[in-house]
């Protein structure tokens, strides 16, 4: 892609430079006495055609437009010297110089690559320099305008080559920056996932913040202080690079890897809902080892389910039964509350789709909801061990 842009840049520079040269030459040649009055209109027509060809050089990378520019330009150079051999005006060679050195040589910028283009460059250089030289007042081939034309062709070739090589060098550099950026993006992604993955932590922080948003009214100041201190400590640990798990005892697990005992974390869930007015009764397994991502998803689904009970069921008690088999762990959450008709309640309202189902499926688990109005609700969560 940058190849195209580089070519376009050189083409446009060639066009701008060339057009300036052609205009300048047209201006100088139009001065009275420089060119034979009979020849002047034809010369100007040729110059206009050359300008049109230059415009196309700026648009298309086709070599034909370059060749056309050179042919038309050389034609104008030759035509302006008619009739041959008669003592031309002193101002003629200097007036032709901008045509040779800019109007024609400008296309040299796009001729730096490939044998074919070099040949065109050589032809253009030779033809235009010679034609400018023949206009010289002395009749010899060495004149300042001719040398200027030759030098300009060389300079244009240098510009073309230099930009090409410069782009290649810069590309290597950009490539390196791009690779570093990719690594940086992945690292930042991992970091963000770590922070977002610490959902349980953010849940308790958010709960505390919500209490604080109401100025902490209705909660004893000491309890709130203690909660704030625990949460601040958790956040600090998160910032320092570990993924802490809230525990009931007030000390926190710092094991970032592999397996975390389930029992202690269940206690902290129970305590939290206890504070919010829902009594959770546990049945079944107390100690289960789970990979930390599975545990995280499982706990999230569990707390979401309990949160639904707390909000919608209208009861103050819920039962959670944990059973384990050879290869899976199952939680059954039941309440004797209001219940609902599963078809009537949208997924969004239950918060089920995103937070429970998707999260469980990420780790290979599943969730099912059974409910009848008036007869309570049962949620079954299952994760692999």
């Amino acid at each position: 892609m940058i190849e195209r842009e580089r070519k376009l840049l050189l083409q446009r520079a060639a066009r701008a430079f060339g057009l300036c040269g052609v205009m300048l030459a047209g201006l100088c040649l139009s001065l009275p006495g420089v060119v034979d009055a009979d020849v002047l209109p034809s010369v100007l027509i040729l110059l206009i055609a050359q300008a049109a060809a230059l415009v196309m050089v700026g648009r298309s990378s086709h070599l034909g437009w370059v060749v056309l520019t050179i042919v038309l330009g050389c034609g104008a150079l030759a035509l302006a010297q008619l009739p041959w051999g008669q003592g031309a005006s002193l101002a003629l060679p200097i007036s032709l110089a901008p045509l040779g050195a800019a109007g024609l040589a400008g296309v040299g910028m796009v001729l730096s690559e490939g044998t074919g283009r070099w040949l065109v460059w050589a032809g253009g250089t030779l033809g235009s320099s010679l034609l400018v030289a023949t206009a010289g007042p002395t009749g010899g081939l060495v004149s300042t305008p001719a040398i200027a034309t030759l030098a300009s062709w060389v300079i244009m070739l240098i510009i073309g080559t230099w930009v090409t090589v410069g782009v290649q060098r810069a590309l290597r550099r950009i490539d390196g920056i791009g690779r570093a950026h990719l690594v940086e993006r992945q690292a930042s992604e991992t970091e963000a996932q770590r922070r977002q993955g610490a959902r349980l932590l953010h849940d308790t922080v958010l709960a505390t913040l919500t209490l604080l948003a109401h100025s902490g009214v209705g909660v004893s100041a000491d309890a709130l202080r203690q909660q704030a201190e625990e949460d601040a400590a958790l956040l600090r640990q998160l910032r320092l690079g570990s993924t802490p798990m809230p525990r009931f005892s007030g000390s926190y697990s710092l094991e970032p890897v592999a397996e975390t005992p389930l029992g202690t974390t269940l206690e902290s869930v129970k305590n939290r809902f206890g504070r919010m007015g829902l009594d959770v009764r546990w049945h079944g397994t107390g100690q289960v080892l789970l990979p930390s991502d599975v545990l995280d998803a499982f706990l999230l689904a569990l707390t979401e389910s309990l949160e639904n009970v707390r909000r919608h069921a209208g009861v103050e008690q819920a039962d959670v039964t944990i059973t384990e088999t050879q290869d899976s762990l199952r939680a059954v959450i039941t309440d004797a509350g209001a219940g609902f008709t599963p078809g009537d309640v949208t997924d969004e309202r239950l918060g089920v789709a995103e937070s429970i189902v998707a999260r469980l499926r990420d780790v290979g688990g599943s969730a099912r909801v059974f409910s009848t109005p008036g007869a309570g609700t049962t949620v079954i969560l299952e994760v692999p061990r």
Partner: protein, 422 residues
């Protein structure tokens, strides 16, 4: 323990940027890096070679006409001063790592002005500035050395000053007749030409490389997971966590009285809202949105509408191709073209029932993608766009009311989580 102040951030910040080092070590985002890091320093060498070449020609020309000069001293002085300035500046620049302090810049300009003045003094009695000016023209070329080091307007200003000096000298000394006029016009053009061409080329070069850098940086989104957080969201989340920590710490240590004063409780409320939004929303953004928001080039023109985050399902080849197509569509061939607006819309998914059942063991889901471009004609679209879209999926295009509409059917193989659970 819990009341210990959090000094980590400040020490970390301090270790990144040493107190003494100022601008030389400071860097913004990669795209704001000084362009010389990307190779316009290399262009500077090319410019120096061209200036040297031109100066040699100028000296040759001067020597061939030395006999015409009534006094050679000022002209020789001008050439000597020019050579000293040229060499001195080139060496200084390459030794000091491609930067030009202000005082050196002004010193350089003053030296060039002296060269021009000496040359004019030398050729004034000859009554033809256009024909005899040599060192003063080379001064215009030597001026080019700074084109990669200073701001564009500074170079243009210096070039303009040189042109004005020439015009004044011509008007003061040279009788204007059709025979002498061409040489005068050309000499002024020679004074202006190098500066204009240099600025044009170097700015084009830098713009091109900046855009390429932008593209390469955005390219890294192609390998991102289905839903990514993005570079900025990650930092933002860290900041929110830090703010929450500070607030909770204040409550815990008793620095904030309970019940909480109104300003602090408002802060807790806004923090909770922002945190919640970040935890939910950050995951919902796809690579495409990140690519568009992070890129200067795409961000100005492209709008993405992808409510179901379907872009994340495209594989890396399709992403790469889609990005390339959008990139090409967003780049204007001419600055004067009408403002181009590109809308990208993904979804909604066709209902699964419409798929032929049991057609094969690989289930391919079709994601409908609609690209609407305002302000482009069908025949002005870069052919590369169609090539790239071909790699995204089967496409068909239509034009109506001056807008180009491309429908692409992106086939995604076996997207486990494309459809919502029923």
């Amino acid at each position: 323990m819990s009341s210990s102040p959090p000094p980590e951030e400040s020490t970390l910040g301090g270790s990144i940027r040493p107190a003494g080092a100022r601008s030389s070590t400071r860097r913004g985002s990669p795209t704001s890096t000084h362009a010389s890091a990307l190779g316009s320093g290399f262009l500077g060498i090319g410019v120096a070679i061209i200036a040297a070449l031109q100066s040699m020609l100028g000296i040759a020309l001067f020597m061939s006409r030395a006999g015409d000069y009534p006094t050679l001293l000022p002209a020789v002085g001008a050439w000597l001063l020019l050579m000293v300035t040229f060499l001195g500046l080139t060496i200084t620049i390459s030794a000091s790592g491609e930067r030009l302090p202000d005082w050196l810049y002004f010193f350089f300009l003053a030296a060039l002005a002296a060269v021009v003045w000496l040359d004019f003094v030398a050729i004034a009695p000859l009554d033809d500035v256009g024909r005899y000016a040599t060192a003063s023209i080379s001064a215009g070329f030597v001026l080019l050395i700074i084109v990669t080091l200073r701001a564009q307007w500074e170079v243009l200003l210096a070039t303009g000053a040189l042109a004005i000096a020439f015009v004044i000298a011509i008007l003061a000394t040279t009788p204007l007749t059709p025979a002498t006029l061409p040489a005068q016009i050309i000499v002024v053009a020679l004074a202006v030409g190098p500066g204009l061409t240099g600025v044009l080329l170097v700015s084009g070069f830098e713009r091109m490389l900046k855009r390429e850098l932008d593209r390469v940086l955005v390219q890294s989104t192609v390998t991102a997971p289905r839903l990514a957080v993005g570079m900025l969201a990650s930092e933002e989340l860290a900041r929110l966590d830090q703010d929450a920590e500070e607030l909770l710490d204040a409550v815990a240590t008793g620095r904030a009285a309970l019940p909480l004063p109104a300003d602090l409780s408002a802060r807790a409320s806004s923090l909770a809202t922002e945190l919640r939004l970040h935890l939910i929303e950050g995951r919902r953004e796809t690579w495409l949105r990140h690519a568009v928001t992070e890129s200067e080039h795409l961000g100005r023109r492209v709008a993405v509408s992808d409510p179901a985050a379907l872009a994340g399902l495209l594989d890396s080849t399709q992403r790469d191709a889609l990005l390339a197509a959008l990139w090409l569509l967003a780049s204007d061939p001419a600055a004067s073209a009408p403002q181009r607006i590109i809308d990208v819309e993904l979804g909604p998914l066709a209902s699964p029932a419409s798929e032929p059942a049991g057609s094969g063991d690989v289930t391919a889901t079709i994601i409908p993608l609609v690209i609407t471009v305002v302000g482009i004609k069908r025949n002005r679209v870069d052919p590369g766009v169609w090539e790239a879209l071909d790699r995204v999926g089967r496409y068909s295009d239509s034009t109506a009311n001056g807008r180009l509409c491309v429908d692409v059917d992106c086939a995604v193989e076996n997207p486990v989580d494309a459809t919502r659970p029923s």
